[in-house]
């Protein structure tokens, strides 16, 4: 078993998420949009709708599902960041979550895309 680091796992997960979104016909506008208030992993466009995507990955499910690790607070933060990104403009937009589970060797076990979770 090779030891990976969480940061590395995260980057790997985000790459996989971007690939999955592109396959669905989304246009990725920005990755890791960040300022001192927080970060949005992926900002994409699904036709006319602006999509803010949070990617959550877990190595194994022994400590819970990735879905369980996205709470109310995190979604609130993404919403807040989205307002900053759009500079307060009201655009058709939504928040998605991509949940990813890896095995111990960082091979992909599952990738689930949840639309409009907020």
């Amino acid at each position: 078993m090779k030891k990976f680091f969480n940061r590395k796992t995260g980057f790997l997960a985000e790459d996989l998420a971007v690939a999955a979104l592109k396959e669905k016909g989304y246009v990725v506008l920005e990755r890791n949009f960040a300022n001192r208030f927080g970060e949005i992993d992926i900002i994409a466009k699904d036709k006319d709708i602006l999509v803010f995507v949070e990617v959550k990955a877990k190595t194994g499910v022994d400590f819970g599902l990735p879905e369980e690790m996205v709470g109310k607070k995190k979604l609130e933060k993404i919403r807040h960041m989205a307002v900053i990104y759009t500079k307060g403009e009201t655009l058709p937009s939504r928040i998605d979550v991509v949940a990813i589970v890896f095995d111990n060797n960082n091979q992909l076990l599952r990738l689930t895309h949840y639309e409009n979770v907020y």
Binding site: L65, E67, E68, V70, Y114, V117
Partner: protein, 512 residues
């Protein structure tokens, strides 16, 4: 998939049906939401249900789960929704292969612990009585409290130890045996009181008054210097109270079921309640209260005895709040969440000293109170309360000869057992008199029943008239006197109230 599970909510002693609707959606972000005005205890059920399911070997589906407690506008406050929610989640996620038509006749009720076992939950009797109205219903209730419902006929009662056992039962793998219905027996000698009447030296008049109070459910006030046996007499009272009849037992048990005061394994309360709250009691504790009002001491004493030791020490507003229940036999508690009516038909037994120092009227000891102090002490109990007390007895200091351990003079002493037989006989006459009237004792009669059911001889009526004129008794006192006289006549087995019954009733009237 959507599943509907039947359960109930209790508002006071009323029961309404609650549908626990559980939806496990195939799309949407996983989560567990409960709607339908849940209380904090129900919000927390989320964690209990989830952990209990996992620890019982089931899968908690990582899907969007929505629970609705319908009707949505009724606030719910009970931990009993844990079980219906858990069953709902299992059924809606396909882990329980029962058709929804089967679930329609089943009621689920109970609190879950984290390992999946069911904990004792209050209000099981009310669930049983509610389920009885629907044909062929089965109730699934926690094993420790299941006995509460066994007095209800016409339903199947399933005592459930844990979640896994229940699921195996529903899958027809391992059948739970339903509890048998039990008859409400009228057992008499189950109770050992603190004191026997024969243990108390002297005080023959007080004992007689106690028997009258027990026989007719009248209010009694004992006053006397410290150490004469007032508290002892009151403590002996449970030993002479008649057992509850089956109808009465059901009424009392309902109240105790709502209050959660039925011990696990106990079926029905057969002992007449005897409540002795301390004078530090709060108004909510006495009358009933809380944001979702629970029964107070007056309701817990329903059909039994409320004993107030050192009555003047009770705060005035607490004593005044007894006025409504003493007159109407019920109490209405009003809170933001609505108003709830609890039955509170009790017989009040009070004990008091004659003055603050306590020695007023003692044959040898000197009272050191000023007249003003005495007057103030007496004013603590207001006129309207005193007017509602039918029997006044002075419990005087006991002479030393009567206390002597070996006393050849005293041969006849009434025992609690003898007194109880008298009381039961008098109650039997009363219950025959009040068939179909939904009252049980003479003290519960309203004026129209007094007029219809109490026959006075002309001499007795004349005596009463004279007394009322001479002492200016109130109209309420007039009817109360007839009721007491009726009880005394019942104790002697007389059909009509004779002058000497009335004379005895009059001698117990207020003297201070």
């Amino acid at each position: 998939m959507l599943v509907k599970i039947c359960s109930i909510a209790n508002i006071g002693l009323e029961t309404v049906s609650v549908d626990v609707e559980v939806d496990v959606a195939s799309i949407g972000f996983p989560g567990f939401t409960i709607v339908g005005l849940p209380s904090k205890a129900i919000e927390e059920a989320r964690e209990r249900v989830k952990t209990a399911l996992i620890n019982s070997g089931f899968i908690f589906p990582p899907r969007k789960i929505t629970v609705n407690l319908a009707p949505a506008d009724l606030p719910k406050d009970s931990s009993a929704y844990d079980l219906p929610m858990a069953i709902g989640v299992l059924a809606a996620s396909g882990q329980l292969l029962t058709s929804s038509s089967d679930l329609k006749q089943m009621f689920f009720y109970g609190e879950l612990s984290l390992d999946g076992t069911l904990r004792p939950t209050r209000g099981i009797l009310l669930l049983g009585l509610f389920a009885q109205k629907k044909p062929h219903s089965t109730i699934f209730v926690p094993y420790p409290s299941a006995n509460e419902a066994t007095v209800v006929s016409g339903i199947k009662i399933m005592p459930v130890k844990n979640l896994a056992e229940l699921v195996n039962h529903l899958k027809e793998k391992e059948i739970i045996t339903p509890l048998n219905q039990v008859e409400i027996k009228e057992d008499i000698d189950s109770l050992v009181p603190d004191f026997d009447l024969s243990e108390i030296a002297g005080q023959e008049q007080a004992k007689r008054a106690l028997i009258i109070a027990a026989a007719g459910g009248h209010n009694l006030l004992m006053w006397g210097t410290p150490g004469t046996g007032k508290t002892m007499l009151a403590r002996a009272l449970p030993g002479i109270l008649p057992p509850l009849s089956s109808l009465e037992a059901l009424e009392v048990t309902r109240i105790y079921s709502v209050a959660g005061l039925i011990r696990p394994g106990e079926t029905i309360i057969r002992q007449r309640p005897f409540r002795a709250p301390h004078h530090g009691v709060s108004a909510a504790g006495m009358i009933g209260g809380g944001s979702h009002p629970l029964p107070g001491e007056v309701s817990l004493a329903h059909l039994g005895v409320l004993f107030l030791d050192e009555m003047p020490e009770f705060p005035r507003h607490i004593l005044e709040s007894l006025r409504q229940p003493m007159e109407d036999g019920q109490v209405e508690v009003v809170r933001v969440s609505g108003h709830i009516r609890y039955p509170a038909s009790f017989s009040l037994i009070a004990a008091t000293n004659p003055c603050p120092c306590g020695w007023l009227g003692h044959p040898r000891k000197e009272c050191k109170c000023t007249p003003k102090e005495i007057a103030r002490y007496r004013r603590r109990i207001s006129g309207p309360i005193l007017d509602r007390i039918d029997l006044w007895v002075s419990v005087a200091a006991v002479e030393v000869e009567k206390l002597a351990l070996t006393n050849p003079k005293i041969t006849h002493k009434i025992t609690s057992k003898q007194a109880k037989t008298q009381v039961i006989k008098a109650r039997a006459i009363q219950s025959k008199r009040f068939t179909n009237l939904s009252i049980y004792t003479n003290s519960q009669m309203r004026n129209k029943e007094v007029k219809k059911l109490c026959f006075l001889t002309p001499e007795a009526e004349n005596l009463l008239k004279m007394a009322v004129e001479k002492y200016d008794f109130s109209a309420r006192s007039y009817f109360r006197l007839i009721k007491v006289a009726r009880t005394i006549a019942d104790l002697e087995g007389h059909k009509k109230i004779m002058p000497f019954h009335m004379a005895e009733a009059l001698q117990y009237k207020q003297t201070i």
